[in-house]
């Protein structure tokens, strides 16, 4: 096993994709899954519950400095940035928005890339802005695996196309291919 975490970023049109991914992971998925998805700032509840419904692994909004565990998904809470701190802990932050977003996909990806280096899998999904582009580049630059959902399949292509413009990613995958890639991780 060469990896330590999977991080997924998405915005408009990504909810169904994330749901399908969580629904297809084995119960004993060997890695923590970090989810940084754009969401309404003031709506605190409902999202994690909706994602949990069909998920095979527990989905939680972490508390600050929570330890990341394999086989669990961590959803960035509303109105917080979610970072990966060294020593495998989550760190939350209320710093300024980045690309009008808090949580910012770029920040989550960059901090995860710094913490896990080549042992990180970063996936950018459907979305309507360019958040995540720099984050995915950082994952790639640090030797991690950079995956982008096939723009032809995305409900909104902006985010994936922007990521593809800046980074020579490892894989452009459909949802099914992303799922089978993750299922093979043992």
């Amino acid at each position: 096993m060469n990896y330590k975490a999977v991080i997924i970023g998405g915005s408009a049109g990504s909810f169904q994709v994330v749901t399908r991914i969580l629904n297809s992971l084995p119960k004993a998925f060997p890695l923590p899954v970090l989810l940084c998805l754009h969401r309404l700032k003031h709506v605190r509840s409902g999202f994690v519950e909706a994602l949990s419904l069909k998920s095979n692994i527990p989905v939680e909004e972490p508390y600050d400095k929570e330890l990341l565990k394999p086989g669990k998904a961590y959803l960035a809470p509303a109105n917080y940035h979610m970072y990966v701190e060294l020593a495998n802990r989550i760190a939350l932050s209320t710093e300024d928005t980045v690309n009008h977003s808090r949580p910012s996909i770029d920040l989550s990806f960059m901090t995860a890339a710094n913490a896990y280096r080549e042992k990180l899998i970063g996936i950018i999904l459907s979305g309507a802005n360019k958040d995540g582009t720099f984050g995915l580049k950082k994952v790639h630059d640090n030797g991690g695996v950079a995956i982008v959902q096939d723009p032809n399949e995305c409900e909104v292509k902006t985010m994936t196309q922007s990521a593809l413009q800046l980074t020579k990613v490892d894989f452009v995958y459909t949802t099914d291919q992303i799922i089978s890639f993750l299922q093979k991780l043992k």
Partner: protein
């Protein structure tokens, strides 16, 4: 923007400690890294070496560091349901007991999001005279901004929404005027606030506090320092005093979780537990 490595950050922390005796070594590393990078970018400092030279050679620069390392509030009346709880549950309960004038402490004021929100709430509840607000801050530049009433224009819309959701009695715009790049809040709201400069290590914290509003500040420290700060806040609270943390902050340390009991799970409100 220059990207700092761990070695750079440690070197910067060491320099600040040796020159100014401020200890940032227990700050959460990822956010400290970001704040330092931001500080360097804003002040056009191109390398770790130049930053270190500046810290060593320009004593007054420490205030800029303390200012830039503090994270401003995201908006006024953040988490409107907490403000509703304060308005509809907490303050009515406290004032019913008729305890006389009591103290509320805001340990880390940066942009005054919490300070002015609280002052507005107390004003609307007719409690301004019954409460002594103590606002502590770390940098001179911060207190200047707090006293000027200035607040980031781009945080105003969401603050309006929050205020309404928090059952505010008027329109938030009744409390400020719009300037070019900021709003200027009504400074008479904070006329009776006691401002105190506080060392970042929380030395000489105020005592006998009924309510501490300390939301989304613990997140900037590592678990060791979080425990220390919580223990210090425990010491500052009066018997059965309340501590409000950010909604994703929890008291989880072994000793501190015995010292506080949770009163409102959703809003992260704790009560000081009396230990026998």
């Amino acid at each position: 923007m220059t990207e700092l490595g761990i070695v750079d950050i440690r070197e910067i922390i060491r320099t600040i400690k040796s020159v100014h005796n401020y200890d940032f070594s227990n700050y959460a590393l990822t956010s400290l890294k970001q704040r330092l990078e931001r500080l360097m970018s804003i002040n056009t400092i191109g390398s770790t070496d130049s930053l270190i030279k500046k810290i060593s050679n320009e004593p007054a620069f420490i205030d800029t560091i303390l200012f830039e390392l503090a994270v401003p509030s995201t908006e006024m009346f953040r988490d409107p349901s907490l403000w509703r709880w304060l308005r509809e549950v907490y303050f009515p309960e406290v004032t019913e007991k008729n305890i006389g004038k009591f103290k509320i402490w805001l340990p880390v004021c940066v942009s005054g999001g919490e300070l002015y929100s609280l002052a507005i709430l107390l004003n609307e509840m007719g409690l301004s005279d019954k409460v002594q607000i103590i606002a502590t801050y770390t940098s001179d530049k911060i207190v200047e901004i707090l006293k000027s009433g200035c607040y980031d224009l781009k945080k105003v819309d969401v603050s309006h929404e929050n205020y309404k959701r928090g059952n505010g009695c008027k329109e938030l715009s009744a409390y400020y005027k719009t300037d070019k790049n900021c709003i200027v809040r009504e400074t008479s709201l904070i006329a009776n606030v006691e401002f105190r400069k506080l060392n970042i290590n929380f030395d000489l914290a105020p005592q006998n506090i009924k309510l501490i509003l300390f939301r989304n500040s613990l997140i900037y420290y590592n678990p060791t320092q979080q425990e220390k700060i919580l223990r210090m806040l425990y010491g500052s609270l009066s018997a059965s005093g309340y501590l409000v943390l950010g909604i994703r902050e929890r008291i989880s340390g072994i000793s501190t979780s015995r010292e506080f009991e949770i009163v409102n799970e959703v809003e992260s409100v704790y009560r000081k537990r009396m230990l026998n």
